[in-house]
């Protein structure tokens, strides 16, 4: 069992948790992920490592409540336990001195981008960060991002904060005037697709971090496979970072929708049970 030591709501939908998991903290690096399972009924959910503290033996995860599992996870509190916390998985980000780089983060993608931007900055790169979200309420860690960036651009889709734009707009402006060595982009697949299409026009190498359907996270199920120019790869063992210019994005986007219907069923059932619990403590049993 792995204890939740701290929980913070970064906004209405995005939660941060610090988990006691010394076996993962010992080896964790920026760019890697963990597999989390809440209890014996739970799924194995891949979540990016947002931060870690080797001496304290803790790992920080940040997640957006979307489906049943992340809503359930979000309902837990400090002192609760998780059944599974396995990792670190995947390859760490390749950090070196590139020159001027851009880190693009969308929504909850800010969490995995932060340690990468921090490491790039520490390695002597000039870091320009572009952070985007649908609205102001979904933004977090602006100050943290600012401390590891030479320049920070914040935008929202609805203009409720920062610049009213999608991340590709400022990205295009910068690429048009500056010599950029490398771009990192983490966020929704559709955002990473458009970032990659844009950077390809400018011939700037682009690393994206994929979050695909995954069961074990160790290379066993193959559910996370993604089509690249040179064949299929497994996100869990070959990634999670890939060259954004080589990915068949349409195949990736369609594979992410495989279990949408089941997610709706599980999510609806979860909310139903939660509401019953709130209105009548015994009513929840009827559902089982």
């Amino acid at each position: 069992m792995y204890t939740i030591l701290d929980k913070q709501a970064l906004n209405d939908a995005i939660k941060l948790m610090v988990i006691e998991a010394p076996h993962v903290a010992r080896k964790a690096s920026a760019g890697q992920f963990v597999i989390v399972r809440i209890d014996d009924f739970g799924e194995r959910v891949p979540l990016t490592i947002a931060d870690f503290d080797r001496s304290a033996g803790t790992v920080t995860i940040i997640f957006q409540e979307a489906g049943k599992s992340t809503k359930h996870l979000g309902s837990l509190n400090a002192g609760d336990n998780l059944a599974t916390f396995a990792g670190p998985l995947g390859h760490p980000t390749e950090i070196k001195r590139y020159g001027a780089v851009i880190c693009v983060a969308g929504g909850v993608g800010i969490a995995p981008v932060y340690p990468i931007a921090k490491a790039l900055k520490e390695a002597g790169n000039v870091v320009i960060s572009i952070v985007g979200a649908r609205n102001k309420g979904l933004l977090f860690w602006e100050e943290r991002m600012r401390t590891v960036s030479d320049e920070l651009i914040v935008c929202t889709d609805d203009g409720s904060y920062g610049r009213k734009a999608v991340v590709t707009e400022p990205l295009k402006e910068i690429l048009s005037v500056k010599n950029i060595a490398n771009v990192w982009a983490i966020g929704p697949a559709i955002m990473m697709k458009f970032v990659s299409m844009l950077t390809k026009e400018f011939n700037v190498p682009t690393v994206v971090s994929l979050n695909t359907i995954m069961i074990d996270g160790t290379g066993m199920c193959g559910g996370c496979r993604v089509l690249l120019e040179d064949g299929a790869k497994f996100v869990c063992v070959d990634g999670p970072e890939f060259d954004g210019h080589k990915i068949d994005w349409d195949s990736l986007l369609s594979r992410q929708r495989i279990y949408l219907n089941e997610e709706r069923i599980a999510s609806g059932r979860w909310e139903h049970i939660c509401n019953l619990d709130k209105s009548d403590e015994t009513a929840g049993d009827k559902d089982k």
């Binding site: 076996h23 009924f41 990792g87 066993m220 193959g222 495989i258």
Partner: protein, 473 residues
């Protein structure tokens, strides 16, 4: 009883769950011999002076001795004799290909039906699990520490034998549950998970073995670190990396590896979604590619899912490029699959998977094959027949084409010799690898094989590790 009298006793049939009912549930198909039938079957044994059956068993179970004890009514002695060589009889009694091993060698099989050794083994195993007689004891503490990587059949067999010698054994498992392929691969209706948990927990408790789950060797801890901390390390990580056919369309939604399909069902209990959170997608028309045990398990799971979801008119095809005579699956599983209504498309090979505009599978294009001359494996090589392409309409494709060793365990491990196929080079008798104090066995060495052969390799490695630890060589 005379030899003639023994030979007149008919082979005792295994009671089975009714075909039509079992197609709609995941409960065990074979129900186990009742006591009187088990004793009657044991009476059939001729107690050969030179038992061929034992030669056919990869772990050398003392078959005539346990059967003698069983028919003399001393079942505790039968358990004791069994456990000398086999740590997981309830598992092996269910999943071993007995027809090719012990029973395949049985002298009774020359003129009639061989002794049902597998059924008797299962009887002994089940008896022990319900009674907990525990004939295994930890004799003394040698002060030596061994790390076992992987808790499947090879790892468990190795760990248990080392535990019995008094070494301190720690098993590292990447998943949240011990058992490896016994847990994620083999379905409940063939091997109930409580049987696996019970056999493993029991062996582990008797011998004080520690199991660390959620530890991915190569990521959480490296082999080098294990070698630094332990006196010896055994790798029994199996062959878990699924192979996909290199044909167009494999990334359409609805195409999955048998590993993914079976892991969702077995490890994550997806057949009980939404009570359990993990779903599994199955359509009304399923194609399983391959005809090994994993293909049979996948096809039979697919039938059960279809029926339990109300798809009474569902179809499950097994597509195999060779003929009925070459089916690599256990005969019993093949028969059970046929009984359950699975359609076999023999001498057929997929060439392309079709999908719709949303990326969902709609069909599979196949080509007819004929059998030519024998290939390197000794089997007749399938050759495509020109202009024989046809399409089967399907919405789910499950690839059961064998697996390769998972490379993650070998991360940053330069001088361990491996083959081009990714398997570890290890001595067949001892399991020794090219690295000092590092042993390997099971599917990670041989590629996909059977539970019992992996157990055999684990046991041989354990014997060699013990020798090394005690004698330093």
């Amino acid at each position: 009883m005379t030899k003639q009298e023994r030979m007149k006793i008919p082979r005792q049939e295994m009671p089975l769950q009714d075909t039509l009912i079992r197609r709609g549930n995941f409960e065990e198909v074979s129900l186990g011999l009742p006591e009187d039938a088990a004793v009657k079957e044991a009476e059939r044994c001729l107690q050969c002076k030179k038992p061929k059956c034992v030669e056919g068993c990869p772990v050398g179970v003392l078959i005539p001795q346990f059967i003698k004890a069983l028919r003399e009514g001393d079942i505790n002695e039968a358990v004791r004799v069994m456990k000398i060589k086999n740590n997981l009889p309830a598992v092996c009694g269910r999943v071993c290909p007995q027809e090719n091993q012990c029973e395949g060698n049985c002298i009774l099989g020359k003129t009639g039906e061989p002794l049902a050794i597998g059924r008797l083994e299962r009887y002994i195993g089940d008896y022990e699990l319900s009674r907990r007689t525990c004939p295994m004891v930890k004799p003394h503490d040698t002060g030596k520490k061994v790390a076992v990587v992987g808790s499947g059949p090879a790892g468990i067999a190795c760990a248990v034998d080392l535990g019995r010698e008094g070494h301190k054994v720690t098993i590292f498992e990447s998943l949240h549950s011990a058992g490896g392929v016994l847990i994620y691969g083999i379905p409940e209706f063939r091997l109930p998970k409580p049987v696996v948990h019970s056999e493993i927990d029991y062996a582990v408790q008797c011998l004080g073995i520690e199991i660390k789950t959620d530890h991915i060797i190569g990521r959480t801890v490296t082999l080098d670190e294990l070698l630094g901390e332990y006196d010896a390390v055994f790798i029994g990580t199996g062959a878990g990396l699924p192979n996909f056919m290199k044909i167009p369309g494999i990334n359409y939604s609805g195409v999955m590896s048998a590993n993914e399909f079976l892991t969702r069902i077995n490890l994550m209990k997806a057949y009980r979604f939404p009570e359990y959170d993990t779903p599994v997608r199955i359509g009304g028309r399923v194609a399983v590619i391959g005809a090994g045990n994993v293909a049979m398990d996948s096809a039979r799971c697919a039938v059960r899912l279809q029926k339990s979801m109300g798809m009474e008119s569902g179809e499950v095809h097994v597509i195999y490029r060779r003929s009925r005579d070459e089916v690599p699956a256990r005969l019993e599983e093949f028969h059970h699959a046929e009984e359950e209504g699975i359609i076999f498309d023999f001498l057929t090979s997929p060439v392309e998977i079709f999908g719709d505009i949303n990326g969902n599978v709609t069909g599979i294009k196949c080509i007819r094959m004929k059998l030519g001359d024998a290939d390197a494996s000794g089997r007749k090589k399938p050759v495509p027949l020109a202009n024989s392409e046809f399409t089967i309409d399907v919405d789910t494709v499950i690839m059961a084409l064998g697996t390769s060793p998972n490379p993650v365990v070998f991360t940053n491990n330069g001088n361990l010799r491996r083959t081009n196929e990714g398997t570890v080079v290890a001595d067949n008798e001892t399991g020794r690898t090219s690295r000092e104090r590092l042993w390997a066995g099971g599917d990670v060495v041989t590629g996909s094989a059977t539970v019992i052969s992996a157990m055999g390799a684990g046991k041989r490695a354990a014997a060699d590790i013990h020798r090394f630890l005690m004698e330093g060589m």
